[in-house]
Symmetry: C2
Subunit: 171 residues, 2 copies
């Protein structure tokens, strides 16, 4: 995929980053105190304006993918009517897990700002995001959640047809 | 987080894996031919029964997180009424990107079966999932989508309060 690098606008300075992050921290405080999930939250900002927001609601929604960043990205895409968030910056209460980092990557977000580290989440919340990063460095079959390949020969024709279709989905 | 390893039930054999994967491949064919997204799809199976399914609808839903696996995990959680898919196996048309792999990890899925590789998706679809894996191996600030830490000192009190709260969300 042709990835377009989209840095924060030059007009966004340190004071703006801190202002958005303080709002993110307040959101994290509210969702965690409500018992909806961990103290995680995120904002998506474009041209200095908030275009999407989300908080962790894993418990409340019974959805393990309902992290603040994924939720904020989905909200921004809905608000802007596109799957492409080129030109946007993400502010997140905590260092993004691989799910959220890759979500931002697919959304073509240009840069991420975070406050708490994996180590904070591990030390105070018993969330261990870094082990997933470590697992991703291993071959598929050797991971704690192992992945095994089967039926490769049966899906190859589908990919070849997809590649040969000039009207295929591109994104 | 206390991760519970949940291997595929011993009663599930090669024929079952192939049967589920053939259904996944058919789903991938349908969604890609409809132009809804790439040829990606997934099933979640528990005790030999399908409990969730999803296809890639990034284009159709204008949502970059709408990959087959994430969609199937959300569907299974909704159907089973829990964020915890311990004891489930995931079948996916393509090797999972970090977003989808981490989604499965958070959902406590026990094992993953896939048919197409990152290389197939790159060669025939111009999707390059492996570069995200590569980015995750780099320090935050050196990634193509860089992540910068700010206001650490302002979020620490929130984490300390969370850690000290006996009624905090646990998952």
């Amino acid at each position: 995929m042709a990835q377009v690098q989209s840095p924060a606008p030059a007009t966004v300075g340190k004071a703006d980053h801190e202002r958005f992050m303080r709002r993110v921290i307040e959101m994290a405080k509210q969702t965690s105190e409500a018992g909806a999930g961990g103290p995680f939250s995120a904002l998506i900002v474009k041209d200095g304006k908030v275009v999407g927001e989300g908080v962790n609601r894993v418990i409340a929604e019974k959805d393990p993918t309902w992290h603040g960043e994924v939720s904020a990205i989905r909200d921004a895409c809905k608000n802007l009517g596109t799957h492409d968030l080129t030109g946007c910056v993400m502010y997140t209460a905590g260092e993004s897990c691989p799910m959220c980092y890759a979500s931002a990557w697919w959304a073509r977000i240009g840069a991420i700002y975070f406050a708490a580290t994996f180590e904070d989440a591990r030390q105070y919340g018993n969330f261990d995001d870094s082990v997933i990063n470590d697992a991703l460095k291993l071959p598929n079959e050797q991971r704690k959640v192992p992945a095994y390949q089967i039926l490769h020969e049966e899906i190859l024709p589908l990919w070849k047809a997809f590649g040969a279709n000039p009207n295929r989905a591109r994104y």
